[in-house]
C-alpha cells in the first residue's frame, strides 16, 4: 500500500508547483483524466445498469411494483428460489467444511489434483453444467432407465434445478475455507487434543470459531449465486410457469412477454440481494480481513 503522502494524490489538497515536477507521480491533468475515464467507464458498464433496474421497476409507480408480488406465478418463483437455495447452500456448506478439513489438515498424494477437481465447476459454462444432468437423467440419458419405472422426475422438475444449482455453487465454500485453514495450521487443534478434547469437540469449539467469518463469507457468495443462477437452471427447468421457474427464469419469461415493469420488479429483488451481499462482504473484508482467505479473489 502506498501510505507515503508524496505518492498519494488527494483532489482536495491544494496543488503545489512542486507537484508538477515530482518524478514518481503523474501530472495533475493526467490524474484527473484517468479518474474521469475510470468513473465514466464504471458508470456506463456497472452503475447505470444497476440504477436502471430500480428505475424501470418503479416506472409505473409503487402500486404496480408491489402488485407484481401478488401474482401467484411470481410468488411461486420466489418460493422455489428460496427452496432451491435452502437445499443447495447447506449441502455445499457440509461439503465445503469436509473438503477443507481433509485438504488443509492432512498431507496426502494427489492433493493438488483434488483441489483442481473441486474448482472444476467454475471453469464450465453454466449451460454445460445444466446439460450434463440432461445427458444423465433426460429422455435419452444414461441413468434414465433407472428412474423410468419410478415416479421420480428430475429433468424439467425441481430435483434437476436443485442439482444444477449445487453444481454451479459447488466450489464457493470449499475454496474460501481451504486457504484459510491452511494458513491457520493445526496448532490450535493439536493443543485441544492434547488437553483431552475429542474430534467433534475440537471441531465445534476450536476450528469452527476460528473459521466462522470465512465460513459466513463463503456462504454469502454461495447463496447469491444459488439464488441468481440462470443458465444451468434454464437448461434443466423446462420453464413450466408456477412450477419449475425460479426468479431468474421468471424474469426471462416476463421480459420476453414485454411485461417489463414486472420483469424489473422481480429483478429488483435479486439486485437488492446482490447489494446486501456486497455490503456485508465489504464489511466482513473491512473488519475481519485477516480472518478471510480470498478477500481479493471473489
Amino acid at each position: 500500500m502506498y501510505e507515503q503522502d508524496d505518492l498519494v494524490y488527494d483532489s482536495r489538497r491544494p496543488i503545489l508547483p512542486s507537484d508538477h515536477t515530482r518524478p514518481t507521480t503523474e501530472r495533475d491533468w493526467i490524474k484527473r483524466t484517468l479518474i474521469g475515464i475510470a468513473i465514466v467507464f464504471m458508470l456506463a458498464v456497472i452503475v447505470l445498469p444497476l440504477v436502471l433496474v430500480f428505475v424501470e421497476a418503479f416506472r409505473k409507480g409503487a402500486g404496480e411494483y408491489f402488485s407484481t408480488f401478488g401474482d401467484p406465478q411470481s410468488q411461486a418463483a420466489i418460493r422455489l428460489t428460496l427452496l432451491v437455495a435452502a437445499i443447495a447452500v447447506p449441502l455445499n456448506l457440509v461439503f465445503g467444511v469436509a473438503a477443507a478439513w481433509c485438504v488443509a489438515k492432512f498431507e496426502f498424494p494427489g492433493k493438488a489434483f483434488l483441489t483442481t477437481l473441486i474448482d472444476l465447476p467454475f471453469s464450465v459454462s453454466p449451460v454445460v453444467s445444466g446439460m450434463v444432468y440432461v445427458l444423465l437423467f433426460g429422455a435419452q440419458g444414461f441413468l434414465h432407465p433407472w428412474i423410468k419405472g419410478t415416479n421420480i422426475e428430475i429433468i424439467f422438475a425441481v430435483p434437476g434445478i436443485v442439482l444444477a444449482t449445487i453444481f454451479v455453487t459447488f466450489p464457493f465454500i470449499a475454496r474460501e475455507l481451504i486457504p484459510l485453514m491452511q494458513d491457520q495450521g493445526n496448532g490450535d487443534e493439536e493443543a485441544a487434543l492434547s488437553l483431552g478434547a475429542n474430534g467433534w469437540q475440537v471441531f465445534w469449539r476450536v476450528t469452527l470459531p476460528n473459521i466462522k467469518w470465512g465460513l459466513l463469507y463463503g456462504v454469502l457468495l454461495c447463496n447469491a449465486r444459488a439464488m441468481g443462477e440462470f443458465g444451468a437452471v434454464s437448461v434443466v427447468s423446462g420453464h413450466i410457469r408456477g412450477k419449475t421457474t425460479t426468479m431468474p427464469l421468471d424474469i426471462e419469461i416476463l421480459y420476453n412477454e414485454y411485461n417489463f415493469a414486472a420483469a424489473f420488479a422481480v429483478a429488483s429483488l435479486l439486485a437488492l440481494l446482490a447489494l446486501v451481499t456486497l455490503i456485508v462482504k465489504t464489511i466482513l473484508e473491512f473488519r475481519y480481513g485477516d480472518e478471510l482467505a480470498g478477500t481479493r479473489k471473489h
Binding site: P23, I35, I37, L52, V134, F230, R296
Partner: protein, 293 residues
C-alpha cells in the same frame, strides 16, 4: 486409510501423512463421494455421450456454418471484451490504488457487482440501457444528441458489452493487489536514473504487472466464453451473426439433439482448454522475463 491418532510416529508408508488430528477417513471419503456424484459422474457422462457420436457426425456438426459462426462469435467477442477489460481494468485498478478522490471506496466496492448480480438481471438491464431507446443506446444512436448512428444492443457489439460487464472484476482484482505491493524504490530508482514518468510506467511498472494482467485476461476470457445469461437478452441471437455457442447448445437441447449439443460443448471445452494452455505458457514466459510478481 484411517490413521490411528494413538501412533502418530508409526513407521512405514501410509497414504496420508500421520497426524494427531482425527477425521481424515470421514472427510476424505465424504469429499470424494460428493465430488463424484455431483461433478465427476455427470462430466464423464458428457464425454461418453460425445464419444458415442459417429466421427462423420462429429465432423458434420463441427463444420456446419452455423456452428463455426457461433464459435467465432463466442471466442471473438470474448477476446475483444477481455482486451477492453485489460485497458479499462488497468486504469480502474491504477486509479483505486494510486489516487485519492471522493467516492474511491464506493468505486472499489462496486467493482465486485458483476460477481454478485445475477446474470439474468444484468442481461435485461444492459439490454434496456443499450437499446436504441435506452439511456446510452439513445445517446449514441442517429437520433441522439451526438448523431453517431451506433447500434449496440441486438448486434455483436452488444455481446461484447455484456462480456465486458462480466469480466471486469477479474482483471481489476488480479492487478490491484500487485499494484498495491509494488515497491516504490523501483520507481524512485528509475526517476533517479533520468527516466521520465511515461518511461517509468511503460518500462518499469507495466512489465512487472504483465503476469497479473495476463492472469486477469485469461480469467475474464474463460468466464466470457461460457457466459449465457447476461448475453442472450442483448445479443438478438440472430443465427450466424449474433448467436453465441452456449445459445446454440441450448437450441440443440430444445430440439432434443443431444449429440449435437454434446459435440459443440466438447469443442468449446477443448478450444477453451487449448487457449488457456497457451496463455499459461505466455504467462510462464512473462514470469521468467519480467520476474515473479
Amino acid at each position: 486409510m484411517v490413521v490411528s491418532p494413538a501412533h502418530p510416529a508409526k513407521a512405514g508408508w501410509t497414504f496420508v501423512k500421520p497426524s494427531v488430528v482425527p477425521g481424515f477417513g470421514l472427510t476424505f471419503g465424504y469429499t470424494l463421494l460428493y465430488l463424484s456424484l455431483i461433478v465427476l459422474i455427470p462430466i464423464i457422462g458428457l464425454f461418453l455421450k460425445a464419444a458415442q457420436v459417429p466421427l462423420e457426425d462429429i465432423v458434420r456438426i463441427a463444420t456446419a456454418p452455423r456452428t463455426l459462426n457461433a464459435l467465432r462469435v463466442s471466442f471473438g467477442a470474448s477476446f475483444i471484451a477481455a482486451l477492453v477489460n485489460i485497458v479499462f481494468g488497468l486504469i480502474v485498478a491504477w486509479v483505486l490504488v494510486r489516487y485519492k478522490f471522493p467516492g474511491r471506496r464506493l468505486m472499489d466496492a462496486v467493482v465486485d457487482l458483476p460477481f454478485a448480480l445475477p446474470t439474468a438481471v444484468a442481461g435485461i438491464a444492459l439490454s434496456t440501457l443499450y437499446a436504441p431507446k435506452g439511456w446510452i443506446g439513445w445517446l449514441v444512436s442517429a437520433n441522439g444528441p451526438l448523431h453517431l448512428g451506433w447500434k449496440i444492443a441486438y448486434t455483436p457489439t452488444g455481446i461484447v458489452i455484456a462480456l465486458i460487464f462480466i469480466g471486469l472484476p477479474f482483471v481489476v482484482r488480479t492487478v490491484q493487489p500487485v499494484l498495491e505491493e509494488f515497491e516504490a524504490e523501483l520507481e524512485e530508482a528509475a526517476a533517479t536514473l533520468g527516466a521520465n514518468r511515461w518511461q517509468t510506467i511503460s518500462m518499469v511498472i507495466l512489465p512487472r504487472l504483465m503476469p497479473a494482467i495476463l492472469t486477469g485476461f485469461s480469467l475474464a476470457f474463460a468466464r466470457a466464453v461460457g457466459e449465457y445469461g447476461s448475453v442472450i437478452f442483448i445479443a438478438g441471437n440472430l443465427p450466424n451473426v449474433s448467436e453465441i455457442a452456449p445459445v446454440l447448445i441450448v437450441i440443440k437441447l430444445e430440439e432434443f439433439d443431444q449429440a449435437g449439443a454434446a459435440v459443440i460443448a466438447g469443442i468449446m471445452l477443448v478450444i477453451a482448454f487449448v487457449m488457456l494452455f497457451v496463455i499459461n505458457l505466455i504467462q510462464a514466459w512473462a514470469r521468467r522475463r519480467f520476474g515473479d510478481v
